[in-house]
């Protein structure tokens, strides 16, 4: 099966290393994909705040583009790695399925731009694809450097599992832990897997956002995690890039690597850190590099 890949704006900018690591992992595992032609922004959470119908319209353009690009397929699997994109596309699809009058309007608008939407698209998260399509056993087999002794705290953030718990539990998700176990690392049992990192508030209203990030970092370190792995570009940004600021604010010395789950997986698959975009990190996950040994160890 060939997947369509919808990167979204973040994966081309602040979340570049998410894209780099994801595609590197796909390449090694032989997962076939092609990028969606001329995709546009999903609208994210901010767009919804301004104009709902337009937000759904621009999001559905991507779904329609997918149907155009894969017009001979009956079921199109489109991978949306960014949590916000994933959630917004799902939300759009749900909205259109439940709302006939709005569907008519949007279909009309799509027609104006020469597109059509029939509802053949299935929106998939890379976690879902890796664990449920590719399979945990296959991942285990592909591992070259088991990450022995590494305690990884899975952090899903909000929108991967909320409000649509499509492939995992909304309150206590476990898909990432399955990957952690498959690559020989140890999943950390901790209560903040889906606790909000503050999202855009961390950048905009610091007095609200920073405490949220702080509690997540603090708790992960308290639960003896070596690294936090995440599936959301904004979570990764908030948790990693604000560490200095948080330490200053709380007069603490929190120091923990926050990487994409695809980066951790990639290391176990034998991919070198720069190929996974890990040269872009501010906080190097030293213990992980050490555990991988070999080529990666030089990046410590």
């Amino acid at each position: 099966m060939k997947y369509l890949y919808y990167p979204g704006c973040s994966l081309k900018c602040t979340g570049r290393s998410y894209e780099e690591s994801l595609l590197a992992v796909f390449k090694v595992l032989g997962i076939d994909y092609v990028e969606l032609d001329d995709w546009n922004c999903c609208g994210a959470t901010a767009y919804m705040a301004v104009d709902e119908t337009k937000a759904f319209a621009i999001a559905s353009r991507n779904l329609a583009l997918a149907e155009q690009q894969f017009k001979n397929e009956n079921e199109i699997n489109i991978i949306a790695p960014c949590s916000a994109c994933y959630m917004v596309l799902l939300k759009t699809q749900n909205f259109l399925a439940q709302n006939e009058t709005e569907l008519k309007k949007i279909k009309y608008a799509l027609k104006e731009s020469g597109l059509n939407y029939e509802g053949k698209v299935k929106i998939r998260h890379p976690l879902d694809v890796l664990v449920n399509d590719f399979g945990i056993n296959a991942i285990t087999k592909a591992v070259k450097h088991p990450l022995k002794g590494i305690r990884a705290a899975s952090y899903y953030g909000c929108q991967t599992v909320r409000p649509y718990a499509t492939f995992d539990d909304a309150r206590d998700p476990s898909t990432m832990d399955k990957i952690v176990k498959a690559i020989g690392a140890e999943p950390v049992d901790w209560p903040l897997k889906t606790r909000c990192c503050g999202a855009s508030l961390t950048g905009t209203v610091e007095q609200v956002g920073l405490p949220l990030c702080h509690s997540i970092l603090y708790e992960a370190i308290k639960k003896r995690a070596d690294v936090i792995i995440t599936s959301c570009p904004l979570c990764q940004f908030n948790l990693e890039c604000y560490q200095t600021k948080i330490n200053k604010k709380y007069n603490q010395d929190l120091h923990i690597g926050v990487i994409y789950f695809t980066q951790l997986l990639g290391l176990a698959l034998g991919i070198l850190p720069p190929e996974l975009g890990m040269n872009r990190l501010f906080v190097k996950p030293e213990s992980v590099y050490k555990s991988v040994g070999g080529g990666a160890a030089i990046y410590v």
Binding site: D169, R171, D172, W190, P191, S215
Partner: protein
């Protein structure tokens, strides 16, 4: 082809039994219930113009005494021979009007009822369309009654024995009421002992009298009552028959102990080769252990031990020394016992199968099953009970006395994702548990409630008492129970996160023990039990009563009554009251001695029967037999329950169902769509005039 029989003019005459058709039509306002949406006067005028109609009236309340008298006077004065009443559902008042007609000397089955309330005025909002529909329905009825025939009501004797299913407080109370009235009761209980949930409770609200003290005397009264046959560890397998005459098969599961011989000395338990009890004790909800041979609790009734074949060594390997058998000097142990089936005949049945508590694992935010110190309310009932696993000492699973306890109300209740309903008893039992925990420990007790519901005698006063005892009341639904500690006081404890909605502030409250006040649910197999007894369940799965206000313990199946929490969540006083009501309903049937049955049975017109046997296998009651000598089918009227399936299937049209004859239904169909009475073509013109007035 359907050349309707009634097109043959003769039938018309024969159907009116020698006299001209004289119909009386009555349309009810039902106060404003009907009149507000249906133009009843218009309907009355419209029907008045229909042929055959002699009297047409509208009246405020047809079901009232004056309303019924109106019909009766008209029957006498105008020599009416058909009555049609357009009012509420026939399920409500068909009987009332039939009796009224009968009193005036008319055969009650010359009456027909039109439902213009539940089927029209209550469900529509367009007055013109509703009036139009009411006219159609009335016209169909006028046309239908042409073909009504006088019928005899069958009466059958009522067997005075009563079956009661479920031996909780409701079943116990109903059984004693009926037995004390001198009638025989079969009390069937699934568990090895009667007592139900109430036997597990420590104290009862709001009086705080001990549950065992008030329940156990009733339990032993059951055991010793000469009019009660008590079958515990038994289940109803099969139910046949109908009101007054039910045939019931009861399965008696093997206890591996001969009940008549066992005296409950428990020497066998002592002698079991397991010196230590090591299997979870069901009665204590797994909070303590029992042996493979056990008695559920000290006051269990009957006082008979039983084996758990799942854990007994002898059942697994046949290699046990069988020290239990040696210990029993009455030779009561029989490991070869098998299940037995008893067949009984009863006239009425009372179902009091009770409830089950909500499984809090379905609300994972409260951490039940994840954090050992999160308990259900039922577990706490056992924990505070003097005869419970800790002899009444309130200690957490790690053996500590809690410094603070949180009681979370509405667990599983008032929630779209789990149970939508309010379980009615949780507020009160949470208050009771708060009091008992305070009594047993010196912990701070927090109650987290959405709304405090204390409607009952002495209930609000009990709430007041608790507030004065220093229990914290926080209005807010707990969002989560977490082991995430932010401040040092929260370390190694459970923290409750809740909005104190009365203050408008989110609070984090660390506690050592959490009590989940789980709601009440229908039993898992309520649906199977319902099918067994041919009754209905309401949406949420509790047994459905015939009428929520006026027939709260009756069901749609005559002779089957319901009592207690199987009908909906209720506390002990309400359960007992309902059990009394159900017993009275059963006794009233028994006391009447006979019961009237609807004469809607089917019969075969022998001369038309072609002997094809299509009908024979269709009958679920084996009421149809085939007479080989004449090659005709024959219906045993006593067995027929009047579903009409055979009638619809008969290819030669030789089966008739009383009250639902083909021509009656055909004329109703035609009447709904157009007026097409026989030999009454002038009617069409009459109708048009009225319509265009």
């Amino acid at each position: 082809m359907f050349t309707n029989l009634w097109e043959e003019g003769q039938l018309f005459m024969s159907n009116t039994y020698g006299s001209t058709l004289r119909i009386g039509f009555y349309v009810c306002h039902c106060g404003h219930n009907i009149a507000s949406l249906v133009d009843v006067v218009d309907v009355q005028k419209y029907v008045a113009a229909l042929p055959g109609v002699v009297v047409s009236r509208d009246y405020k309340y047809m079901c009232s005494d004056p309303g019924q008298e109106l019909i009766q006077t008209d029957i006498k004065e105008y020599k009416l021979n058909r009555i049609v009443v357009a009012s509420c559902s026939p399920l409500l008042h068909e009987h009332t009007f039939r009796v009224a007609a009968e009193k005036a000397g008319l055969n009650p089955y010359f009456f027909h009822m039109v439902n213009i309330r539940e089927n029209v005025s209550w469900v529509h909002d367009d007055r013109a369309a509703a009036t139009e529909k009411a006219k159609d329905l009335a016209r169909a009825a006028i046309q239908r009654v042409f073909f009504h025939k006088p019928l005899e009501t069958k009466t059958v004797p009522v067997n005075p024995a009563v079956l009661i299913v479920g031996g909780g407080i409701s079943g116990i109370h109903a059984a004693l009421t009926i037995a004390n009235a001198g009638k025989h009761v079969y009390l069937v209980e699934r568990e090895p002992t009667i007592g139900g949930h109430m036997a597990m409770f420590d104290k009862t609200f709001p009086t705080l009298d001990c549950a065992a003290c008030i329940l156990t005397p009733k339990m032993s009264a059951i055991k010793s009552h000469p009019n009660i046959t008590l079958w515990t560890y038994s289940e109803v397998e099969k139910v046949d028959g109908f009101v007054g005459n039910y045939k019931v098969t009861v399965k008696r599961k093997p206890r591996y102990v001969i009940e008549e011989l066992c005296v409950g000395c428990m020497d066998c338990i002592e002698a079991c080769i397991y010196k230590e009890a090591k299997y979870p004790d069901e009665f204590n909800l797994g909070l303590s252990k029992r042996k493979p041979i056990y008695i559920p609790f000290p006051q269990a009734t009957p006082q008979v031990v039983l084996f758990d074949p799942e854990t007994c060594i002898d059942f697994k390997s046949h290699r046990c020394k069988k020290t239990c058998i040696e210990a029993c000097d009455r030779n009561a142990i029989d490991l070869k016992q098998t299940e037995k089936f008893e067949e009984i005949e009863v006239g009425t049945v009372i179902l009091s199968t009770g409830f089950k508590t909500f499984d809090p694992k379905l609300s994972p935010q409260y951490g039940y099953g994840k954090f050992p110190n999160v308990y259900t309310s039922l577990e706490i009932e056992r924990l505070v009970n003097a005869s419970g696993p800790t002899s009444g000492e309130v200690i957490t699973r790690d053996g500590k006395s809690p410094k603070s306890v949180g009681i979370i109300h509405c667990v599983g209740s008032r929630d779209e994702k789990t149970n939508k309903w309010c379980s009615r008893v949780c507020c009160m039992y949470s208050l009771k548990l708060a009091h008992l925990i305070k009594e047993h420990t010196d912990a701070e007790v927090y109650n987290f409630y959405i709304d405090m519901r204390t409607p009952g005698k002495g209930y609000e006063e009990f709430y007041d008492k608790l507030m004065n005892e220093g229990v914290h009341f926080i209005r807010g639904r707990v969002a989560e129970v977490t082991d995430w500690a932010i401040v040092p006081e929260e370390e190694n404890r459970l923290t409750i996160r809740v909005e104190d909605t009365l203050i408008g502030v989110v609070r984090r409250i660390p506690v050592d023990m959490i009590v989940l006040s789980v709601g009440l649910e229908p039993r898992e197999d309520a649906s199977e039990v319902r099918r067994l007894f041919n009754i209905s369940c309401s949406t949420e799965g509790f047994f459905l009563e015939r009428h929520p206000k006026l027939a709260p313990v009756s069901t749609f199946t005559d002779g089957i009554f319901i009592a207690g929490a199987c009908q909906g969540p209720k506390d002990i006083p309400d359960s007992v009251a309902q059990a009394g009501a159900a017993a009275a309903e059963a006794l009233s049937l028994i006391s009447a001695g006979n019961i009237e049955l609807e004469p809607n049975t089917a019969k075969i017109i022998e001369q038309y029967c072609s002997g094809c046997k299509s009908c024979v296998p269709l009958c679920p009651y084996s009421a149809i037999s085939f007479k080989e000598d004449v090659k005709k089918a024959f219906i045993n009227e006593a067995l027929c329950k009047g579903c009409g399936t055979c009638v619809a299937a008969c290819p030669s049209g030789s089966i008739i169902q009383n009250l639902f004859e083909d021509e009656q239904i055909f004329s109703e169909i035609d009447g709904l769509l157009k007026f097409a009475g026989i030999g009454l073509k002038e009617s069409d013109t009459a109708r048009k005039e009225v319509e265009h007035v």
